[in-house]
């Protein structure tokens, strides 16, 4: 793997090359070092998280196929109801279930069951959940895995467990999407009345 390091394997010691050629040689070694390091990183990623990811994705994909995406439509209709008690359904349960079952980007199609005034808020809520879900259910957004995995790799290097971080990321994510839904709904309502007055 270390192409330019092969020379050092033979026990003969030589002086470090000097002059123009020496500089070139050092440059070449530094150059290939970047890619050797990158290569070993790639190998550890492919050997580390990839096999687990493939098996997990297969299992969840099968589960979603067995459940059938059309079953969650009733939930969408329930979330459309007005009233305070439907807020958690609209901005916690519905985004969670849509992102889990339909994954990014098809999750946003669930907005079609909601009245126009809730749609931007639901989109905001659902799209904000496509990363916090990754710690436990990476099938929901595998193309953007590294938002979470990038930071999680650092935690792993310290020899710490990832479970705590993954669970907290998910839970805080649920709180955040709930708040985002409510805030965006209020802003949308205010802008809608303003534009109606303007007309």
């Amino acid at each position: 793997m270390h192409f330019l390091a092969v020379g050092f394997l033979s026990a003969v010691t030589v002086d470090k090359p000097t002059g123009v050629l020496g500089a070139l040689a050092t440059g070449a070694e530094d150059f290939i070092k970047v890619f050797n390091k990158g290569g070993s990183t790639l190998l550890s990623l492919m050997g580390g998280i990839l096999p687990t990811l493939v098996v997990l994705l297969t299992a969840v994909n099968a589960l979603v196929r067995i459940i059938g995406p059309e079953r969650i439509e009733n939930l969408g209709k329930a979330a459309a109801r007005p009233g305070l008690q439907w807020y958690p359904v609209r901005y916690i349960i519905l985004p969670f279930v849509s992102v889990f079952v339909l994954t990014n980007p098809m999750a946003y199609t669930m907005g079609r069951f909601l009245p126009e005034r809730f749609k931007p808020a639901f989109y905001d809520s659902a799209v904000s959940f496509v990363h916090p879900i990754l710690g436990i259910f990476p099938h929901a957004n595998p193309g953007e895995l590294f938002v979470y995995v990038g930071i999680a790799t650092g935690i792993q290097q310290l020899g710490l467990g990832l479970g705590d971080l993954a669970v907290r990321y998910l839970l805080v994510g649920l709180v955040v999407i709930f708040i985002r839904g409510i805030v965006t709904e209020r802003i949308t309502a205010r802008m809608m009345t303003k534009s109606e007055k303007g007309e």
Partner: protein
């Protein structure tokens, strides 16, 4: 109800389940090859570049101050939530993924305390989906008038909820990885 029809029934349902599992595996491998592995290759190159050249130390100095304190993380989230910047930072979450990886390298080296991983996950990501609002709303069959209001509504909302999410995550990170050092 003869023996033959029972056999047919069992055979069919087993076949159906196997078919679903096989298709699920096919979808998975498809996604992994098209979306996951290319990004891993790209990220590996960046990590190699950071770890072997001096870039790493340079970034570490810049990031260390801002990513290992609450005000610094808030600053990052405010910048990412600026309505003119957030749609530019959004596409494919590429920026968030690169910054996440950079922070991960620094956490691994011990330059950023491990408990900051949770608020950092939110600080680098207030722009999530800001590039995709019209498409996302269209997928939800929203009318053009709703899209016209929805785009600025979401962008303005992020200016409030972006930094707020960092504060919530910061509070929620108490007790995370603190005993371990």
């Amino acid at each position: 109800m003869g023996f033959a029809s029972t056999v047919t029934k069992v055979g069919r349902s087993v076949g159906g389940v196997v078919g679903i599992l096989y298709q699920a595996g096919r979808d998975t491998v498809d996604t992994v090859i098209r979306n996951v592995i290319p990004f891993m290759a790209f990220i590996s190159f960046i990590i190699g570049l950071i770890l072997t050249t001096g870039i790493g130390d340079w970034i570490a100095k810049g990031i260390k101050g801002s990513a290992s304190s609450l005000p610094g993380l808030l600053l990052i989230s405010v910048v990412c939530a600026i309505p003119l910047l957030s749609p530019l930072l959004g596409p494919g979450a590429v920026i968030a993924q690169i910054v996440g990886t950079l922070l991960g390298v620094e956490i691994g080296k011990g330059n950023i305390p491990a408990q900051y991983s949770l608020p950092a996950l939110f600080a680098i990501n207030p722009q999530v989906g800001c590039d995709f609002i019209p498409v996302g709303l269209a997928l939800g069959e929203a009318e053009p008038a709703t899209v016209e209001i929805g785009v600025p509504a979401v962008l303005f909302s992020r200016m409030v909820t972006g930094p707020l999410s960092v504060v919530i995550a910061y509070v929620a990170s108490f007790g995370l990885y603190t005993a371990a050092k």
